[in-house]
């Protein structure tokens, strides 16, 4: 339950950032209902808010969503979801539900953890989004509230738990430097795609 409340709070900042980036209330709500994977949603509205093409934003969101495929792989034998359950379960395959499900030893408990976490998160995530979006909707100039400084802080908070070893830290620093270096020469948002391509090549070609 704690994890659902924390994510509700996190959804408030998503609703605020998305509205400040220029997405309508409906578009912001649609992202939380349909996309329902936090980092991708933040990336999409972050790129749009920074003046990037909406398609660059969509591509970045999809790239960030690739890790959910690996989560699905880990979960598929645990959940054993068949028939209508599989498309329904798929929507809930995200960081938090995976963490809760694989932390249980018994498959029945895993399934319960997955579905209960998924349902609680989905409800609070959308409620939080609505609150954040409505609150920001009434603000005429989001810059006055410092909302343009909110997305980088959100990305940093999402990144920090992944940096507990030396290699990820080095990759993160290199990615930041490369993105800044190419930024003046390509359209907004494109540095992200360049960085994604480079890190994919690095991961693919390096020796294990």
């Amino acid at each position: 339950m704690g994890i659902a409340i924390a994510s509700g709070a996190y959804a408030i900042s998503f609703g605020a950032i998305s509205t400040a980036a220029g997405l309508s209330l409906l578009q912001t709500g649609a992202l939380s209902i349909l996309m329902f994977t936090g980092a991708s949603q933040f990336a999409m509205v972050g790129v749009i808010g920074a003046g990037g093409s909406v398609w660059t934003g969509a591509a970045t969101a999809a790239l960030l969503g690739s890790r959910n495929a690996l989560y699905g792989l880990r979960l598929s034998s645990l959940l054993n979801a068949r028939g209508w359950r599989r498309p329904a379960a798929s929507h809930f395959v995200i960081d938090e539900t995976t963490a809760m499900a694989i932390a249980r030893d018994d498959p029945a408990l895993s399934r319960f953890a997955f579905w209960s976490t998924g349902l609680a998160l989905f409800s609070l995530w959308n409620l939080g989004t609505l609150i954040g979006a409505l609150a920001t909707h009434v603000v005429s100039n989001p810059r006055l509230l410092g909302l343009d400084a909110a997305p980088p802080a959100a990305f940093l908070a999402l990144l920090a738990p992944r940096l507990r070893a030396r290699e990820p830290l080095a990759i993160a620093l290199a990615a930041g430097v490369v993105a800044i270096a190419v930024l003046p020469f390509v359209p907004a948002g494109v540095p992200l795609l360049i960085v994604a391509l480079l890190v994919a090549l690095f991961g693919w070609l390096r020796k294990p």
């Binding site: 003046g51 990144l159 994919a200």
Partner: protein
């Protein structure tokens, strides 16, 4: 335009989740894929932090957002909750603009 991208990206994200649950296990168990995919969010999130702090459009800029990022780094190192990190950064930028 925004709607088209919202729907396309949502479909793509859902497809990736469904693929994980549906594709034959050995496809995604390829060792290089297993090593590469976790690196993508690290690199993308870091690039998002850098570009959204130090640029406006295609121009590199150093403004109050850099100070806000420093505050966010401190908050993250103190293991502050997500909303506190974001609010501290936004408040820093707002206060510095008032001065």
């Amino acid at each position: 335009m925004i709607w088209g991208a919202v729907i396309a990206a949502s479909v793509a994200c859902y497809g990736l989740k469904l693929a994980g649950l549906s594709l034959p296990q050995h496809w995604l168990q390829e060792a290089r894929l297993q090593r590469t995919i976790p690196l993508i969010p690290i690199a993308l999130l870091a690039a998002l932090v850098a570009t959204q702090t130090f640029s406006t459009g295609q121009h590199l800029v150093l403004d109050v957002r850099a100070a806000a990022l420093v505050v966010a780094v401190i908050a993250v190192m103190l293991r502050a909750p997500f909303l506190v990190v974001v609010a501290a950064a936004a408040a820093t930028a707002a206060l510095l603009r008032l001065i």
